[in-house]
Symmetry: C2
Subunit: 243 residues, 2 copies
Amino acid sequence: MATDLVDETQGGADDPRTLHQQVLARLRQSILLGRIEPGQALTIRGLAADLGVSAMPVREALRQLVAERALELMDNRRVRIPPMTIERFDDLIAARVVLEAEAAARAMPYVTEGLIARLEAEDAVINEAEAARDYDTWIGANFAFHAMLYGAAGQSAFLPLIESLWLQIGPFLRRAMRTLSGHYTVDRHSEALAALRRRDTMALRIAIEADIRDGIAHIGSTLIRSEALGATGVQGTLRQAQG
Amino acid sequence: MATDLVDETQGGADDPRTLHQQVLARLRQSILLGRIEPGQALTIRGLAADLGVSAMPVREALRQLVAERALELMDNRRVRIPPMTIERFDDLIAARVVLEAEAAARAMPYVTEGLIARLEAEDAVINEAEAARDYDTWIGANFAFHAMLYGAAGQSAFLPLIESLWLQIGPFLRRAMRTLSGHYTVDRHSEALAALRRRDTMALRIAIEADIRDGIAHIGSTLIRSEALGATGVQGTLRQAQG
DNA sequence: CATGCCGCCATGTGATCACATTTTTGCGGG
DNA sequence: CCCGCAAAAATGTGATCACATGGCGGCATG
């Protein structure tokens, strides 16, 4: 009864990372790509069984994801994806806009031709994925595009904060994209790339903000249709697969 | 050989929180108030002995603080306070400015007379602490003032991000304040309170940004004087007190 | 006296176990 | 047929243990 909740492919036997780091990476990706349903039961033993590890690495990974606000520790001491509300969603978008616009502007001095070329390559992946309706690739490449830009100056204090925001939005982004397939938008990444080539910081800020806003504006309406997504939902009865 | 690294007073026997939550709270406060020296050895067993708990809660608390970027996991798998560089410090301040200015502006609609009164009370505590050179109280009340404002609308997605930034700055803020005792500054909190009373969002943004910038501007010079604070330093040989 | 090597000790990681609490299930009565 | 209560299963929390790794000092050697 093993679910496809996590990517079983990655993580070889000679992975230099600790087990809890591997578990963390896999769970993080699952959340980011919306593979975990809001409301789904997330138990230590269940995840451990699914991932083929003991409980300890899972415990540590869950704790870390709680700290990043990707998961929420309830009063029952159980962990879940935090339910989304309109207010919280609005907060998350506002935080993304100010943080990512600033991060992009601050990355400008470090933008090289090579970086622009790599961004263009990533943008091509995004466009292909969009045409093919491949949402996993689309979401992943989209984040890679932004992260590549913000990390141009090397490790930045902005990136972890932004990543936390993505993790909080991820589960609902995927759900909204399923309902709203084929939404036509202006290619904001092209605008951003043009701004980068011109070294036009202000235009870059505008492009990034526009990309964030109309990339997810329609989620708001999804939220309105089903108030407090994830607040109710299938509680448990999905992780009984173990002896 | 127990250090005064953590506040031993809090945390009764009938604390409803789990042990790891108590440990987390105490470590977090220690970091925020700069009671942990950058470069100081932070071992699981050592902290557990200091706190009178087993290793398990400490492990989980450390993991959570690593996720919040308050601590850093080195390649040795050992944990430390991340060394500060001028670039990182600059990033942290920039992130604080955009996040806190936005958080303050978004809190404006929820500002009541009662909140303003409570902020004034907190500001009084800050001024007293500054006069008395009581840095612990000063830092704590300062954060309480800001958190109170940003949390006016209830739980905000901004607050955890901002808290992470405070935790990253904390250890060095304290160090810089020790060297720069008695720095005269305009009372930006008064300006912020005045803006709140007038419901002047733009003035509030300006006051918050000014408060952040000149509250810690002098730390930059401290950093320049001792390049890469915490990069070198007393490595370990301080947590041998156990057996 | 300086330097490189070896062994010991401390540490992080992961596994397993016991216990208290919560959740689910099953049964009996209304 | 529905509701409530009790038993049973499941879960989170914390403790302890085994093991591999890394750091440190002592020791022998040049």
